[in-house]
Point group: C2
Chain length 215, copies 2
């Protein structure tokens, strides 16, 4: 509980849900959450409702909140839709992105690479944040608010699987390398090349995340 106290209960819960702090399908007892996060019932319930709105929780009337089940089919669904939405968003970003977009993208990549070394828990937290931020920066220039909104939700869902999947160092290196190359394509305004690589990138990420499914 160090820097957590600055964050609202919504952000803390969201992070813990994505990090796999709660088991797939687990029921969230509101009273228990209240004690654990040391918040009042009202802000807690409001956060749970908003999280249900963006698909990070499921809600049943008068019966409380659940963590959505992790499943192979749900992962395939998320990955497939992400590939489509992110691919087109990347293409549009490359076609329409301005100087500010380029700068933000380069910055996001640099920040991501800064933290690739030493993988203690805190550093990994930071890497996760910067990784998510990088992918958002890549597509931020697409000009479609709703596409970005949906992509945010899909990133979160995808990360739920990746976070609980076993480490895959060899593949992680290739993925990191692809981040570099994606930026090169983007700066060269090669939309087709970028999109082709992004498909590969998502497919490889999917293969890593797939290991989270015991089935």
């Amino acid at each position: 509980m160090s820097a957590n106290d600055q964050l609202g209960i919504y952000d803390r819960l969201r992070r813990d849900l994505i990090d796999g702090h709660y088991r797939s399908g687990e029921k969230l007892a509101i009273g228990t959450l209240r004690d654990r996060y040391e918040v009042g019932l009202s802000p807690l319930r409001e956060a749970l409702n908003r999280l249900a709105g963006v698909g990070l929780l499921e809600q049943s009337h008068q019966r409380g909140f659940w963590v959505p089940e992790l499943s192979r089919s749900a992962l395939d669904d998320v990955a497939g839709l992400r590939r489509q939405l992110e691919g087109e968003a990347l293409q549009q970003s490359i076609e329409r992105g301005d100087d500010d977009w380029e700068v933000a993208l380069v910055s996001a990549l640099h920040r991501l690479n800064q933290v690739q070394a030493g993988f203690d828990t805190a550093a990994h937290e930071q890497w996760e944040r910067r990784h998510a931020h990088f992918h958002r920066a890549l597509v931020a220039g697409c000009g479609s608010t709703w596409r970005l909104r949906f992509l945010d939700q899909l990133y979160d869902q995808f990360d739920r699987y990746r976070r609980v999947a076993p480490a895959a160092e060899r593949r992680r290196e290739r993925l990191d390398d692809q981040h570099e190359k994606l930026v090169q394509y983007a700066l060269a305004r090669d939309a087709a090349g970028a999109r082709a690589l992004l498909d590969i990138h998502i497919e490889l990420s999917w293969a890593v995340a797939l290991k989270s499914c015991t089935y």
Copy 2:
């Protein structure tokens, strides 16, 4: 306040937001809502939070909730993304939909046509519900939970514009006719034809909804 009392505050607010009962950009005073809907503060706030999660409201910390602004650019965004997501969903539905999907689709069309006559307020309410249900039935067989989830949100957004746009009877007839033809394509398992018509259908709907933007 007839059948409204059976619905939860979330559904009542959602319907009123889509129906244009609140102005674009309007600030929602929580105390006023509490009196108008005759509900307690807690369920009201929880509903507002969930509505913010699905994009039917905007929220600013400690500053309350707003109705998202209607704008030409936002409508174009919603319509474009809807065309893409719904088109592919329709194609997959036609390729994968089973007998139950066909039955539900035919039922939804029939129910929609049953209410096309007499357009008083209550009948129009019913038509709106059945129209939304028809489009959901059309794509329900696609097999992608997340795609359907996002489409639901896009339908709601699109309807916000259509509901406040002036009536366009001539075009409405053509749109209703297209509903029939869409089902014919679907039952004939002609995915390409259905998708082409759906593009036309959405474009025509967009032209109608566009009249809601004063700009």
